[in-house]
Symmetry: C2
Subunit: 407 residues, 2 copies
């Protein structure tokens, strides 16, 4: 089944012209005026296609296309339309528009599924305006409490609830997604693996688990000049050694294990004083819970040993732990068969980033489809995907929905 | 000749009780009320000892004790009385009080030198309230222009000239030190070498030259999760490798060569984003100009090669270069003979930190005497020196002045 590529492109371009930065980036912050404009467009298109639009109390939008079987549970597809500040054209939006286009394509071809099909736009995935990320899907999955989520505030002290009401997207709690047969999310890869290996599609089998460590190393802040190299207790040198050892360790674990030191600071932070204190974070990801645990353990040993060697004190605090998530075998198989049918080259891939699908997988059989990201870029104006990959990815979604409908 | 240890201690304690922080640190910021109180005390003591007190247009204080030879050039000794915020009890103050005690001791013993003896308190050595450091000695040595120096401002926009006038220490330009036979500065080591090797005194032969580099490495700020270790352009990993290689390089050069990475920052600085950009400084010190140059060159090669290996862009900017300074042979010899006479264990040592003596050495034959710092600490409340080392160091200064007077 071929999609209407022109229609899809026109709709995506419409949304991507709402709030464009000087760099050509997207600025649809969660529940902002730009987000409202995007939501209104989506709502109009869904209504044009004779879908029933519902909004829940977290502002999440659901467009229902009726199925032939009154008793069948719905099959859902979607993602989010909010962006990072100065974000990209495809992150989130692709998954929503692919779902919409899939429903329209089936309708155009006179294909009625047994299950109702639901196009979903989750509220507040990015977590930049309101923290944490994946807020609405987290509420639906029972991870975040409703009241607490309403009261998440942006930098100006404005709450989620205030903004839901202001832009007219504070819907009903009973509209929340509760029971469904499947949930499928199409998304850009946000990494460079598919492109590097020349695949057109990724069949996502899992999402990496994450452990976040905050490390503080305390040495002695002595004068840069009068303190011989051999008499120093340089916390930054120990940190440098730890960083390189962590990288070596993770390289030995092999893909998809990764570790990232994304923040670092030193005290007192003067050009002519040896850093008495160095603080940094390590973001550790692995696709198997035991692997994540043992990687964390080995990293702790590296820190321990290095600090002992340097005769330094250290504190290690775990600020985050999320187990790996495995997507549903039936959805994975359906995506695989759909990819074969459409004739795209594909490989199994593990998502390194979090997605609404990760939370939804707790309550509904879930899977994901990745399309390649050019140069692996996302969350920036350079974020890009070849249009033909967008089209093929959407066609795979159409076939996946049909496969799942037959299960 | 024995000094009056009690008198000296009483005077130092008096000054060290003017402005004490909660931590027990000293807070005599340059030209503050606390600095004025300290200056007034010094002035009173000098006048009590029948010294002639002069103040120059940078606020530097000179206490003249007449000599027997009308034609002899003066021999000077001193240091500074300003401190770092929350600084120590001995940095600077020791050199001024040792000079005063030396003059008093000679007077008590009826010893009149041929040369007049001058006790000096240099204005604004620390460079914390007003930048740069060693301001008044820099003006006297012709390094800084007078008007520019008057207009140095603190964080509140108050200038050196304003404060000199406010506290009543804006003296006459003709009082500036111009010609002198010698200048000797006693100071704490500010490092741990003398203590570690169990010496009571350091005969300072030179002051390390400094090259300061500011380095900026640009890679790519990708997602921590979806970017495999082998596909990263992680600027911080390259920086870590450079840091360890620089340390190895400097260790091979041997003492007193040192290199310090005292500041580091990464962009964007998020826990889950690979640092696209890392900036840091390297403070490089060496006792020989050619050594300093070749060390800088080798460090640049390390940076160059590492960035090439990682396929990253880099910028290297030199923010500072000061050649090593060699102190005067006659002063060094005089200190050595004085140390022998007093019977203290001593070694030749190179100063890693800057001192007023470094600038003054450009215009007057100059030398320095170091006393040990406990745990190598300075610029902090923990800064400390055994009182017996203070006494011995002062007695060495007395004998040094006598040696120099006989030259």
């Amino acid at each position: 089944v071929q999609i209407n590529s022109q229609r899809m492109k026109k709709r995506m371009d419409a949304i991507n012209s709402i709030a464009v930065t000087a760099d050509g980036g997207m600025m649809r912050l969660t529940l902002s005026d730009a987000d409202k404009t995007a939501r209104d467009l989506l709502k109009n298109w869904m209504e044009q296609e004779e879908m029933e639009v519902q909004v829940d109390d977290m502002g999440t939008m659901y467009g229902y296309m009726a199925g032939s079987d009154q008793n069948a549970l719905p099959i859902c597809a979607g993602s989010h339309m909010d962006t990072q500040p100065n974000g990209g054209r495809y992150d989130g939006l692709f998954g929503v528009m692919a779902a919409l286009e899939a429903v329209c394509t089936l309708k155009d071809n006179g294909i009625v599924t047994k299950s109702p099909l639901v196009v979903i736009n989750w509220t507040s995935e990015e977590g930049t305006r309101f923290s944490p990320s994946m807020l609405a899907s987290g509420v639906v999955a029972g991870i975040y409490e409703t009241e607490w989520s309403y009261n998440r505030k942006d930098i100006d002290g404005i709450s989620v609830l205030d903004e839901l009401k202001r832009i007219g997207y504070f819907g009903k709690k009973e509209n929340r997604l509760q029971r469904a047969k499947y949930y499928v999310e199409a998304h850009i890869e946000q990494g460079g693996v598919l492109e590097a290996e020349d695949y057109e599609l990724g069949i996502v089998n899992a999402c990496l688990g994450i452990t976040g460590l905050r490390i503080n190393i305390v040495g002695e802040a002595d004068h840069a000049g009068p303190t011989p190299m051999t008499m120093r207790k340089d916390s930054l040198m120990a940190a440098a050694e730890i960083m390189l050892k962590v990288r070596e360790l993770v390289l030995n674990y092999g893909d998809p294990a990764v570790a990232t030191i994304g923040t670092i600071s030193v005290l007192p932070g003067a050009q002519n004083i040896i850093p008495g204190e160095t603080s940094f974070t390590i973001d550790i990801r692995h696709d198997i819970p035991e692997g994540l645990t043992s990687l964390e353990e080995e990293i702790r040993v590296v820190i321990e040993r290095t600090c002992k060697e340097y005769d330094l004190k250290k504190k290690i605090e775990r600020y985050w732990r999320a187990d790996p998530v495995y997507f549903n075998k039936e959805v994975i198989d359906a995506v695989e068969q759909a990819a074969e049918k459409v004739g795209v080259s594909s490989r199994t891939i593990t998502s390194g980033a979090g997605h609404d699908a990760v939370y939804i997988s707790r309550i509904i059989p879930t899977g994901m489809i990745f399309v390649p990201s050019i140069n692996g870029k996302s969350h920036c104006p350079q974020e890009d995907t070849k249009w033909e990959d967008i089209v093929k990815g959407t066609e795979v979604l159409v076939e996946t929905l049909l496969e799942l409908d037959n299960n």
